[in-house]
């Protein structure tokens, strides 16, 4: 059982914020997180998904989710275009 509150500290010279968000994403079924950055330190506070705080936990996790989607969408923009262009390439529905 996770004790509340519980924090993990990362040095941002070693791990990027995006890396940390990606790692935290996988634990969203068990807990939610607050992330803060100060100087070169990234602090993650872990909250267990408590019944009474369910909505707050869901919002915290949703923000991480949407943030990651936005980062990945930018990074994979060309790949997405190529994959979808391939899917529609024989239909005559899109301009070549």
């Amino acid at each position: 059982m996770i004790q509340i509150p519980n924090t993990i500290v990362f040095d941002n010279k070693v791990f990027s914020l995006d890396t940390i968000k990606g790692a935290l994403y996988k634990f969203a079924d068990n807990c939610s997180f607050d992330i803060s950055c100060s100087n070169e330190i990234i602090t993650v506070t872990i909250h267990s998904v408590d019944e009474n705080q369910n909505l707050i936990a869901r919002i915290r996790n949703e923000v991480i989710d949407q943030d990651l989607r936005s980062i990945i969408a930018k990074e994979t923009s060309n790949v997405r275009t190529l994959i979808l262009a391939n899917a529609f390439s024989n239909t005559g529905l899109i301009e070549s």
């Binding site: 969203a28 996790n61 989710d65 990651l68 790949v79 997405r80 994959i83 899917a87 024989n90 239909t91």
Partner: protein, 493 residues
């Protein structure tokens, strides 16, 4: 013995050739996922894989490998890296990727016609939300059939499969006949590889229908949930004789059409969980050679009757693994028998071609691999999308054949947005997952369960189920040569 110094001058030591190896190779796109504490699955863009230790994985990524090591050659031959000797690897990888992606570009091959919502059964888990069988208003008309066929033949796919579904489609057999004859006539011009399947409970099967199926090479797909007791409990109908009618229908179809022309699917309910061997034995008794151990899907009456709440994923997974172990034993005894979902995944792992299974594809197969024409002309992105609409949510309704053109439907915002947003290659957790080449995306499932076409994968039943299955299949592939060879014999191109 003193070393010959003159010889040493001519031939450098092995270590000398390894000097400067660091950074002398470049990584090709790859992903990894843990299988257990010290075992990782490393996959590349085309699904080639290696099972590696943590030390090997770090050595690969940090470029500290010896160029003369066996592991280095494995990585090189499977296109995880390239060096000065093998820069053709990028071209080869591109060629393999195009081969894998070819089926996607062929576009919609599966066209599902819901010819009637009427049904004589009242299954608690029904995912279709059937209507009672006296409502002719829920049958497809010729006009709707004609408009739908116009859409079918606009697909560039060289292979077209028309699947008749319901309700119980044989309750509207007249429209099936009409569609088969019309499509066959149209195909004289289009010259597609045209196939027909009727998904039926076989209650209304008779010799006239069988004759028609024989002449037009029509396949029959039915539901068989297991023993008489289990089947009739899962699939009640007036007379409580669903099992008897189904088995009789299967035997008649096998005799009349051939054993390869009739297949069956099962659905797992809480009553099935303790009897997977008995269920498989029913299929063996009917001389069948495959089974699909399907969990319940979160649609239709399965949700309304809370059927999906009656067991969890872990319990279904135990059911699946017990079944698969039994099936592998059957194969060891010389009886060729496959589990269909496992077979699809194995084909995705080992075949150079992609599979056409729409539920395990990225981009999603919804719309672009399969499409549904409902009895009233509504067009849906998938069968599950239609089921969702029958529950009152028409999010994935792409148009109507009477009011929309083919480009209206295929370029509709809902389809394009769903395709783009749900791409596994750009979804959190999926985009970096080692199982990605074998997996897919299921926007309709995630919309139904999380009201979001992407879905949070940490709490996704789809992700959880497939991760468990992938890990299990790779453990089987590593178990022993006999098991591996059995599984390899299931792979289809």
């Amino acid at each position: 013995m003193t070393p010959d110094k003159s010889l040493a001058k001519k031939f450098q030591s092995m270590e000398c050739f390894d000097k400067g190896i660091e950074n002398s190779y470049q990584l090709l796109p790859s992903r990894f996922v843990s299988l257990s504490e010290n075992r990782y699955l490393l996959t590349n863009e085309v699904g080639e894989y290696l099972i590696v230790s943590k030390k090997q994985l770090h050595g690969y990524v940090k470029k500290t490998l010896s160029k003369s090591s066996e592991f280095y050659f494995d990585l090189k031959s499977k296109h995880f890296l390239f060096d000065d000797d093998s820069n053709v690897a990028i071209q080869l990888l591109g060629l393999k990727y195009r081969t894998k992606a070819q089926k996607i570009s062929q576009f919609t091959a599966l066209h599902i016609f819901v010819v009637s919502l009427r049904c004589d059964y009242s299954c608690k888990y029904c995912q279709v939300s059937r209507q009672t069988d006296d409502k002719v208003t829920f049958d497809m008309s010729k006009e709707t059939a004609n408009r739908s066929l116009d859409f079918v033949f606009k697909s560039p796919s060289p292979a077209i499969k028309i699947e008749f579904q319901g309700g119980e489609p044989l309750l509207n057999f007249e429209i099936i006949k009409y569609i088969v004859l019309s499509a066959t006539e149209l195909n004289k011009h289009h010259q597609k590889n045209l196939q027909f399947v009727i998904t039926t409970n076989l209650t209304f099967l008779n010799t006239d229908i069988l004759s028609f199926c024989l002449i037009h090479n029509i396949y029959l797909s039915t539901s068989l949930d297991g023993s008489e007791e289990l089947h009739n409990k899962n699939r009640p109908r007036p007379g409580k004789n669903g099992y008897q009618l189904t088995v009789k229908g299967i035997k008649e179809a096998q005799l009349y059409l051939g054993f390869d022309k009739v297949g069956a699917l099962m659905t797992t309910t809480e009553n099935s969980l303790d009897c997977v061997k008995e269920i498989i034995n029913e299929y063996l008794a009917l001389d069948m050679h495959c089974i699909f151990l399907r969990p319940l899907s979160p649609y239709g009456f399965a949700i309304k009757n809370k059927q999906t709440d009656k067991y969890n994923l872990q319990r279904w997974f135990e059911f699946y693994t017990e079944g698969l172990e039994y099936i592998i034993d059957l194969n060891k005894k010389g009886y060729f028998f496959t589990e269909i979902y496992t077979q699809i995944i194995l084909s995705k792992i080992f075949s150079p071609f992609g599979t056409s299974y729409v539920d395990l594809q990225s981009p999603t197969g919804a719309g672009i691999s399969a499409i549904v024409y409902n009895y009233n002309g509504d067009v849906y992105a998938s069968d599950e999308a239609r089921m969702l609409a029958e529950m009152g949510d028409s999010h994935f309704r792409l148009g109507n054949v009477h009011h929309s053109s083919y480009p209206d439907v295929m370029l509709s915002d809902v389809l394009l947005d769903t395709l783009e947003y749900s791409l596994a290659e750009s979804s959190p957790m999926c985009h970096e997952c080692g199982f990605l080449p074998y997996c897919g995306t299921d926007p309709v499932y995630h919309y139904a369960t999380q009201h979001d076409v992407v879905g949070h994968k940490a709490v996704s039943g789809f992700c959880n189920k497939n991760m468990k299955i992938f890990r299990y299949i790779f453990s089987l592939l590593e178990r022993d040569e006999v098991t591996k060879n059995i599984l390899l014999s299931w792979v289809r191109p």
